[in-house]
């Protein structure tokens, strides 16, 4: 009994460590996919609740970072499938993403250009956003992205290409 309790405590400690390591990254992923900060936070909380409730003993060798991302993406898609969400999301106001602590690299990127890129990203389709986040920002292999999203590798490449073309067009306005 005490051994089981110790295992649970150990697991909870491990969950906390995973939260510290992946929480911000997952929050960024969800905010990019959902375009809504509150919904993104809800999804992240839901994901880590699922992690805590999981039977950790069966997945000792799990790549938890990849698992968390996949669960987060699925949770985001579940939210977006709801009709009320689609309607509400269309009316959602654009949220200005403000960088509280700009790094030197970030300051090099002009504020207006950054806003233009973020605005263009929000206007991408859901699938394009998901593919770009997983393939480019999370650096998942194309095959893994295809499996996570239920697409073929060719579809992943097409969505990625179109997303990048759209985003590069905003940069082209500076020329």
């Amino acid at each position: 009994m005490d051994g089981h309790r110790d295992d649970r405590s150990l697991w909870r400690a491990q969950c906390e460590a995973l939260y510290r390591e992946h929480g911000m990254r997952l929050l960024r992923v969800c905010r990019l996919v959902l375009r809504n900060p509150q919904e993104a936070e809800d999804v992240v909380h839901t994901v880590f609740l699922k992690l805590v409730e999981r039977d950790w003993r069966a997945d000792r060798d799990m790549a938890w970072g990849r698992w968390l991302t996949r669960v987060a993406i699925n949770a985001c898609r579940d939210r977006q499938r709801a009709a009320w969400w689609r309607l509400w999301d269309q009316m959602a106001e654009e949220v200005e993403l403000v960088d509280h602590d700009p790094t030197p690299d970030a300051t090099a990127l002009a504020g207006e250009t950054r806003h233009r890129i973020q605005r263009a990203f929000r206007q991408l389709s859901q699938r394009q956003r998901e593919v770009f986040v997983l393939r480019h920002l999370e650096a998942w292999p194309t095959q893994d992205v295809a499996e996570a999203l239920g697409l073929s590798t060719g579809s992943v490449k097409r969505h990625l290409f179109r997303a990048i073309v759209r985003l590069r067009e905003t940069l082209g306005e500076d020329a």
């Binding site: 929050l27 990019l32 106001e93 949220v95 403000v98 509280h100 970030a106 990127l109 950054r114 940069l171």
Partner: protein, 159 residues
Amino acid sequence: MRECLRDHNLLSVYYDEGAVEDLTHLETCSNCTARYRRLVHDLELIGQALERLPAALPARRQDREPWSRRVVLAATLAAGVVMVTSIGVWQWRDAHVNVQRQRTDDENEILRFLADASTGLSAGGDGEMPMLPLASDRADRDGGELEGQDGSVDDMEGI
């Protein structure tokens, strides 16, 4: 010389999925090299813009005016419902009043007809008989006396 690489080929090279011949061409073509560098630069800017998000809710959210687009939309919808309802009530009242006015017009017409008929029927109120002339009329015109005006039976028979 092989013609230059297309954009999706350059993208494949960027993601380490390019074909060997594409890599070889990139090493020898200055045009494709310049395009590839531009692609790398653009993707770096895009990644910077999207990777650095605030830890919490954006600061501007607290300063945002309370009249968000959703609130305005909800208020507009509510105003539209009130307007449609008001128009419907107004049209119903208008139709109801028109029905009554129409009856009044009909009644007025009937009343006018009755008045005209009454006028025609009551035109002999001053002693004149409008239609058939009587013997007394003829006597008046001729200036003579009526037979039997002295009260004799014959007068009575003359009547």
